[in-house]
């Protein structure tokens, strides 16, 4: 939960967003067959308008300048009649999409750049506690400013996802597009129409595959036996590819190591313990995606090139994931100066190639910094 914004906060953000869409609406990426997509515009009042349709990018941008939403979403699905209620839209298929978020990675550095904002006494602190250290209230919000380690952790997860999609699922690399979400994660879009007519259950199965969920010990040849506790018999097709190879490599076994595998199972205790070990390995090696995003065939997903109201950064295409710097490339608001009151005692961050060291006071900062900190609940407009 983000701390409440004041009227001045919202005024500043709205003006910044309007300015962006007026000057840079051409940066918004037009989805394939825009006329068949449903759009959702979230207002700064927290009200979401769904079931919208636009016949062209120009019409959409005009609407964004006029209405200035806090967030802009487009459906992964294509419909015959996108503006009608869901049961009448006429679903024609949906792009395959993935979301990798920082909150699912549980990185150790998180506490070093997380802030608490108390709703009761309005204090703001670096770190995370169960209660406000000043007034002992438990009514507070926690906000994370991702650091370079967070971004690298996310990039590793994205790279892992790419490997699954390319070498296991067989998707061509040129059909995979990666975006920084604009806040704490990455989105991966697959533009391969052969996946478009998969239903929710099929997508759930695919998501489980990528996450390493639901694996049986049978896949590497350990099966329960009615006469003995278990037996080892390698499957037809061996252990050459996919999850079989991943698990067997991790356990240090191959198609010739029947005895070694038998010994390993006995060392762990019994087949149930071995099954648990295999499941743990798979979960560890799987990708931490948000399965609900992948499973949903009626999702409205943040549009590339639009602003994220949780940060004031844009959802940005990553042409080269390794070199992509979200603190630079996604920061596209102007640098005209604005006055803000900083809440935490001390705050260090880097945006648009500049480093900022701020303290609990009223300062003049570039707009992109002001909006970033207001979005995060760590500053207020003055």
């Amino acid at each position: 939960m983000i701390p409440t914004k004041t009227g001045k906060d919202l005024q500043m953000m709205k003006a910044a967003f309007r300015e962006f869409y007026f000057n840079h609406g051409n940066r918004i990426e037009e989805p394939v067959r825009i006329q068949n997509r449903e759009f959702g515009l979230m207002g700064f009042d927290g009200v979401m308008k769904r079931h919208l349709g636009f016949s062209s990018l120009g019409r959409l941008v005009a609407s964004l300048v006029l209405e200035t939403p806090s967030d802009v979403f487009a459906s992964n699905a294509q419909y015959d009649f996108p503006v009608l209620p869901i049961s009448e839209k006429g679903w024609r298929g949906a792009d395959l999409i993935f979301d990798i978020d920082l909150k699912d990675l549980d990185l150790k550095c998180r506490l070093s750049h997380s802030y608490m904002t108390c709703f009761s006494c309005r204090s703001c602190y670096l770190g995370s506690e169960d209660r406000c250290p000043k007034c002992d209230s438990n009514n507070f919000a926690e906000v994370t400013l991702p650091c370079d380690r967070c971004i690298n952790g996310l990039k590793s997860e994205v790279t892992k996802l790419h490997r699954f999609l390319i070498s296991d699922i067989g998707i061509s690399p040129e059909k995979i597009t990666t975006y920084f979400s604009g806040n704490n994660g990455f989105h991966v879009h697959v533009l391969d129409e052969s996946f478009n007519d998969l239903n929710s259950q099929a997508r759930a199965d695919l998501a489980a595959y990528i996450m390493g969920i639901g694996i049986l010990a049978d896949v590497i040849g350990v099966r329960r036996n009615t006469h003995k506790d278990f037996r080892v018999r390698f499957p037809l097709g061996g252990l050459d590819y996919g999850w079989r190879k991943r698990i067997s490599d991790k356990l240090g076994i191959s198609i010739t190591s029947q005895r070694k595998l038998t010994k390993l199972v006995k060392e762990l205790g019994d087949i149930e313990q071995f099954r648990k070990r295999v499941a743990d390995i798979a979960k560890e090696m799987g990708v931490r995606i948000d399965s609900q995003v992948t499973t949903d065939i009626h999702r409205v997903f943040r549009m590339p090139g639009t602003l994220n109201s949780k940060s004031g950064l844009t959802k940005t295409l990553c042409l080269d994931l390794d070199s992509f710097d979200p603190f630079d490339e996604s920061c596209q608001l102007s640098d005209r100066e604005v006055a803000v009151e900083i809440m935490p005692p001390r705050l260090k961050l880097r945006l648009k190639g500049e480093r900022f060291s701020l303290s609990e006071e009223i300062v003049r900062v570039p707009l992109f910094i002001g909006v970033y900190l207001i979005s995060k609940g760590l500053a207020h407009a003055v």
């Binding site: 699922i169 929710s200 259950q201 759930a204 999850w243």
Partner: protein, 346 residues
């Protein structure tokens, strides 16, 4: 495709396009079925359908292709004349099971790769629009595209059918012959069902009508009327009950929902097993075992809970109305309706 299937294959798979072409080339006329010379074909078809009605199992005998193709045609004419949805589905499932057995055998034993490939093309590609290739890397395995696999595998509830438990590489899933053929059973059944529905013969020969009337009289009357009280059951359960009542084949997840819900509201095992009597693949022994398992009386001895509304939505089994607002599980529905009634009566 210039290469054609052999006549032995047409006998095993009489629903293929080539079988229809064969019939066309013989200038066969429907009224020929009234002739004494074809009486044995009509009787053969009739006996097969009787077996399906009485035992729910297919006939695996194999005659010459001319006999099998004609028998197949006569069977569907009789089925069409009987005009029972339940029996039509049962017949299509039996035909699919029959073809499945032959196909598995052929895929396992055909020595010539070209013959195997032809069979794969004719059955999978031409009929079902699905690319299946013999694996070059693993003998006796077949390769199916990941997308084709996912579109079909979600119908199976067993964990081994989940993609993660398959050998997957470079967009292909590797399956043995049994698995490859099992994957398409529901599709072949539905394909045959569609063909029968769309069939519009100019007339039904007298001998066919006669057999249809005899067989119709032998179809057991539907199981006891389901006591459906629409206002008492949630929409998801009602939907499943309505489908069951007309003999539709419910997916496994829907059957689990139905059975666990009925257990939760206090129905006994007998009552729940009888709910499934109209299913085209109904087997009382299997149904009883599964219901007892869900009730915690068998297997792991764990009683299964009713799936949540979220799970049902993800499985495409939710048909929520405004009375479902705020509910997270179907078992809450009755209590909500009861509270609503009691509140409005005050």
């Amino acid at each position: 495709m210039s290469i054609r299937l052999g006549t032995a294959d047409l006998a095993k798979y009489p629903f293929l396009n080539e079988a229809a072409e064969y019939m066309h080339q013989t200038y066969f006329n429907l009224d020929d079925l009234n002739l004494p010379e074809l009486r044995h074909i009509v009787e053969r078809a009739s006996n097969r359908i009787r077996g399906e009605i009485e035992h729910g199992k297919p006939d695996f005998t194999l005659e010459r292709h001319e006999i099998e193709i004609l028998t197949f045609l006569v069977e569907i004419l009789i089925i069409k004349a009987i005009n029972s949805d339940n029996l039509t589905k049962k017949h299509c499932l039996c035909e699919a099971l029959r073809a499945e057995k032959f196909l598995v055998h052929d895929l396992k034993t055909h020595a010539e790769p070209s013959t195997k490939k032809l069979l794969l093309f004719k059955v999978f590609k031409e009929l079902l629009k699905m690319d299946v290739l013999p694996s070059m890397k693993y003998q006796l395995m077949f390769e199916v595209k990941v997308t084709d696999y996912l579109k079909r595998s979600h119908l199976f509830h067993e964990q081994e059918w989940k993609l993660i438990n398959r050998l997957v590489h470079d967009g292909r899933v590797f399956l043995d012959p049994d698995e490859t053929v099992r994957l398409i059973r529901a599709e072949v059944t539905n394909l045959l069902l569609e063909r029968i529905k769309q069939m519009n013969p100019s007339h039904i020969p007298a001998t066919i009508k006669e057999q249809a009337n005899i067989l119709k009289a032998s179809i057991p009357t539907a199981s006891r009327k389901l006591a459906i009280a629409p206002s008492a059951y949630p929409p998801c359960v009602n939907h499943a009950l309505n489908l069951m009542a007309v003999g539709e084949n419910l997916p496994h997840s829907a059957r689990v929902m139905l059975a666990t819900y009925m257990l939760a509201i206090g129905k006994n095992i007998e009552e729940i097993v009888s709910l499934f009597k109209n299913a085209p693949d109904y087997d009382e022994r299997v149904s009883r075992y599964q219901v007892e398992h869900l009730a915690g009386e068998r297997g792991s001895r764990v009683r299964y809970l009713v799936p949540s509304c979220t799970k049902l939505r993800n499985d495409g089994l939710c048909f929520a109305t405004s009375q479902c607002d705020g509910l997270i599980n179907p078992v809450q529905f009755g209590r909500a309706v009861k509270y609503y009634r009691e509140t409005n009566l005050r």
